[in-house]
């Protein structure tokens, strides 16, 4: 279930629930169950609204980001990703601005296969005939030839739920966080979102 749907499902407090609760509080409560329910619904929506915007991108992002220059050969990107055990990197242009993101998905996309290529396809191709190993297609390419652009990014103050929406609707696994001057401030991966919610 999505968090935005909570609004409609968790409000099922019955009249009896309220009457029982009122009996548990000693003393005369100057409110009808119906008024209480209306109050509860409105308060719930306020709380939900507050939750939706309380946690911002800057709270959950990883601030120390490994990046790569867009003019570097693709092998350098692969080396970095292997060394740091990560599956994607923000790409920086000559002006020091983030120009895109490169991930293992982008590597797969640029191998000469028309169908959706997976890591296992690459393994198979290399095992079957080393000369036709799919990874060979990537030789000579530069980071900027392969990276995903235009850049999808979020701001420091973007609410976390909005970040989740951006990852989900663009089917991406990480998104760079830019500061007010559009400089790279951090990165949020799907795993950061899970950590924020746990």
């Amino acid at each position: 279930m999505r968090i935005s749907e909570l609004e409609y499902s968790n409000l099922n407090i019955s009249n009896e629930d309220i009457l029982e609760a009122m009996k548990e509080i000693p003393g005369y409560l100057d409110i009808t169950p119906k008024d209480f329910l209306e109050l509860y619904h409105k308060a719930y929506r306020h709380a939900l609204g507050r939750l939706k915007s309380a946690i911002k991108a800057r709270h959950i992002m990883t601030a120390s980001v490994v990046t790569i220059d867009e003019h570097k050969p693709l092998a350098d990107a692969a080396q970095l990703m292997a060394n740091f055990d990560i599956s994607g990197l923000p790409v920086i242009d000559r002006q020091g601005q983030v120009s895109g993101v490169i991930s293992d998905k982008d590597f797969l996309k640029h191998m000469n296969i028309t169908e959706q290529t997976s890591f296992m396809h690459v393994i198979l191709s290399c095992l079957d005939s080393p000369n036709k190993c799919l990874a060979r297609d990537l030789k000579g390419l530069l980071v900027k030839n392969v990276m995903s652009s235009p850049l999808i990014s979020v701001g420091l103050e973007t609410p976390v739920l909005e970040v989740a929406d951006i990852l989900e609707s663009n089917r991406i696994n990480r998104v760079p966080v830019l500061d007010q001057e559009f400089k790279l401030a951090g990165i949020i991966a799907r795993s950061d979102l899970v950590r924020a919610l746990s």
Binding site: N15, L19, M22, K23, P26, G27, Y28, L29, D30, I31, T32, P33, K34, D35
Partner: protein, 178 residues
């Protein structure tokens, strides 16, 4: 919702209170009205001073019987009575020759003033009305009416509410002061 549909109600009434709440309400009201009635009938009987007016019976319902209600809190009790008393006396002084007009004017204006000052206290409406329709003794007090009986008696009842309402384990008064 249409005009007539609104009259159907449709909601449920709150549950009844327990026996201990009924007892504490009785004790509170007895102890609260006792001193003001005693002052009225014993100490100041031969003077022009009045200590007890009808609206204190209504205040007793709130400050001893529905102590959690926002209407029953000190701000509302004191503010509601004093503001309404001043308005009642002022309206009587201006429109006292037309009691049919002064009466609704005093009550309606008192309610508006209590709303505006966040001091809504239902007995305040009675306090304003009594300033208009009250006895010669009340009329003779002028604006003094807002001090004695209204202010002082409300204060005595508040002092009793603070002590009696906090004797029971399950009761606490006030919810807020201002």
């Amino acid at each position: 919702m249409s005009f007539f549909n609104k009259m159907k109600g449709g909601g449920q009434s709150p549950p009844a209170v327990g026996l201990s709440e009924i007892l504490w309400s009785w004790i509170g009201a007895f102890c609260g009205i006792l001193p003001v009635a005693w002052l009225n009938y014993n100490l100041f009987n031969d003077t022009d001073l009045v200590f007890v007016i009808g609206s204190f019976g209504a205040s007793a319902v709130l400050i001893y019987g529905a102590i959690k209600s926002p209407l029953a809190q000190p701000r509302n009790l004191m503010g509601g009575h004093i503001i309404s008393a001043i308005i009642g006396v002022a309206v009587f002084k201006m429109f006292g020759t037309y009691l049919w007009l002064a009466s609704p004017l005093a009550v309606a204006t008192a309610i508006a003033a209590m709303h505006a000052t966040k001091t809504l206290h239902p007995p305040g409406g009675a306090t304003a009305l009594i300033a208009v329709i009250g006895s010669q003794k009340i009329h003779a007090l002028g604006f003094y009416y807002a001090f004695i009986p209204v202010g002082v008696s409300a204060f005595i009842m508040l002092a009793v509410a603070l002590s009696v309402n906090n004797l029971s384990k399950t009761r606490k008064y006030p919810e807020f002061w201002f």
